[in-house]
Point group: C2
Chain length 408, copies 2
């Protein structure tokens, strides 16, 4: 029998969101009358901006004619989009990122799962706890961990607990680590890292010659002008950090699929004897060998986000969801809940009522309020005692959900 | 310094097609007057079918409205497409594949690179020689090989030479292997495996408890009614084979991005102690953790290939390119070349003139005829002495290329 990758067998049952989906589906089957409101998975609900849809439709029409057909896309992406990203996502904030340091992909989830491949298998990985499960699971599947203990923590990983006590700001590891996943604005806690927080991490990474994988998928949700949108706003970060971004939550691309990752050319990886090698060249090799580029109409749609009309529409979408977040924070706090996040992020991180754990509170919210949340424990053992609510919902559904939760 | 995955450093310089791109670009810069005809990389040139473009445009419009918006796609794909695939790609040929055994992706290249992840790192991999480089390179990057020798063969891989002497039909390995990559119609040789050839391989895999990864990306190009389109046309194949398909070369999706992989539920992988596990469940776990589904408009476009108008248009595209292939085979043979392939595949596998190796003939074709080919040696040491020409070009360009080659 061909032997399988037994690292997969270390994974706890079911990826978090499919598990939530199964519980919700089971409840829906047994309670067909329930009008379930989904605020669990961070999926958007509003239409993509008109200029984006029009650009995609025009691109589909282009593809239908031999004269304007586009075949295999360039491995990193079309210049029209890479140039727009370099200018509008970075240059406009005074951050230097060259177009050829940007790698388009079909999702930040894919990039955050795949980036670990270019590092040695024995590298020590640090994760915040709670954490977006993909950072963890992809390292488990690669064989960088031992088994999970009863709390769900895998042997060999370094966990950085983010709790109310430390303001959900990840503490530096006590010893050396090689690879660090940071996410700000944070999924799931909704916390943001200040310039000082990030500078502390860049200093650590420079001192320890570690690499930071910085997930900025939610940067558009930052309201506070003092909070950095890119880790490259920190001096020296180009030598230690990879940054991921996504169109999923900005332009409503969860069903369209487009994201990008920045690998600065200064960033090096070590070898056991052959000297240092550019991680940019390694990631380029990974992507050109194992990936075939982003759909042409999708790239045209993403580029339309940078037109005046497109960027205004994206801003409207973000503001709409942040209006939800503000309403949720106000109402839930008024109802007696302790609520974190929601100010610079589309997620609220809510303390469970006394005596109920997070899967328990998930079940209460589902069964009594017919509201789907995400149990904090699904993001790690330090997420126990919390649930995450997403602001990605229509306003009337948010208001209805809040009313039902108030009546619990 | 965080250490990198040194397996990457074993890779020979540059993935084949970027290398060809670089040589071609250099020639174009130094010879701006040359009208270069690209017949190297297997990229299509004709527009996507009208019904496909219209379906994609309608889907983009759907996404622009809250009422018809689609967020994260289901991990395996939408039922509307999975059901259509099960019926039209398999059921119509008397092959049983259930919709939930099909996993959509954004490319057969990605799937063929990623499938090795679900197998143990010490499994013995057999590859044909010549071979599509992704099967090889993805296993090198994963660490399943030693270094390459001077002929480019990696220690630890089992190579199955496909030459004119054996009709380019891969011979069974002399000993045991665990994982076998087969491709029919073959890229690059254009050879096809008969029912008897495939049955011999299915028997081998059943006897040796090996798994076959069968790449059927070019099945639509089969003219001969006796040649199987799916490995599942062979009895017993569901217990030993994974099959990959693509819309790239059928519906012109190289720039649209959609493919699928079939993992039958009977297919098992072994463990060192915990019994056998369904590879379907492992691949599902891999895809739901590390991938986020295919763009909604793309799925709608793929589904439109199965309408009467869509399937007629796809047939027309395939017949057009096969018209090129027939013309190329006739003319090149008349010009004195020995030519294989091209009857049931869009690729021609051409013997280099005496005394010229395959990169040498590549350079002659580029510099003297301004035609881009693919050097056979880029596909493996048994590809030395051949170049591949692709039939994916406009008819007038094919005619012009043939005229120039005749005049060499």
């Amino acid at each position: 029998m061909a032997l399988l990758n037994e690292n997969y067998l270390k994974l706890k049952a079911g990826y978090l969101f499919p598990e939530i989906g199964r519980r919700t589906a089971n409840f829906a089957v047994s309670h067909p009358e329930a009008a379930i409101i989904k605020m669990g998975i961070g999926d958007v609900v509003r239409g993509i901006p008109r200029p984006v849809a029009d650009a995609m439709k025009d691109a589909c029409e282009e593809l239908a004619h031999d004269e304007s057909f586009h075949g295999y896309p360039p491995a990193q992406g079309y210049d029209f989009l890479l140039d727009a990203i370099a200018e509008h996502e970075f240059g406009s904030r005074g951050v230097t990122v060259a177009a050829d340091e940007i790698f388009l992909s079909d999702g930040a989830k894919c990039d955050s799962a795949n980036l670990q491949e270019i590092f040695a298998i024995d590298q020590i990985v640090a994760l915040t706890d709670p954490v977006y499960p993909v950072y963890c699971d992809s390292n488990v599947m690669a064989g960088r961990t031992g088994d999970a203990d009863s709390s769900g923590r895998y042997a060999g990983l370094v966990y950085l607990p983010c709790t109310a006590d430390n303001g959900f700001s990840p503490p530096l590891p006590e010893g050396h680590v090689d690879l660090i996943y940071l996410c700000s604005p944070n999924n799931p806690t909704g916390a943001v890292m200040s310039k000082q927080d990030l500078a502390r991490w860049v200093d650590y990474a420079r001192r320890e010659k570690a690499v930071i994988i910085f997930d900025a998928a939610y940067e558009a949700y930052i309201n506070d002008a003092e909070i950095p949108h890119s880790i490259y706003e920190i001096d020296g970060a180009r030598e230690v950090a990879i940054e991921m971004r996504s169109y999923s939550k900005t332009a409503g691309f969860t069903g369209v699929r487009c994201a990008f990752t920045v690998v600065p050319k200064e960033l090096l990886g070590g070898t056991r004897g052959d000297g240092d090698v550019s991680l940019h060249s390694l990631w380029n090799r990974r992507q050109s060998t194992k990936y075939n580029g982003v759909s042409y109409p999708v790239q045209r749609g993403a580029a339309a986000c940078y037109t005046p009309e497109g960027s205004a529409a994206v801003r409207d979408l973000v503001e709409f969801y942040m209006g939800n977040a503000a309403l949720m924070k106000t109402e839930l706090t008024a109802a007696g809940y302790t609520v974190f996040g929601g100010d610079n992020a589309p997620y609220l991180w809510i303390v469970c009522p006394p005596g109920i754990d997070s899967w328990g509170f998930f079940d209460v919210l589902l069964q009594k309020a017919n509201v789907v949340s995400t149990p904090g424990a699904g993001f790690g053992s330090a997420g126990e005692g919390y649930v995450r609510l997403s602001a990605f919902q229509q306003r009337d559904r948010v208001e209805e959900a809040l009313e039902r939760i108030r009546q619990l």
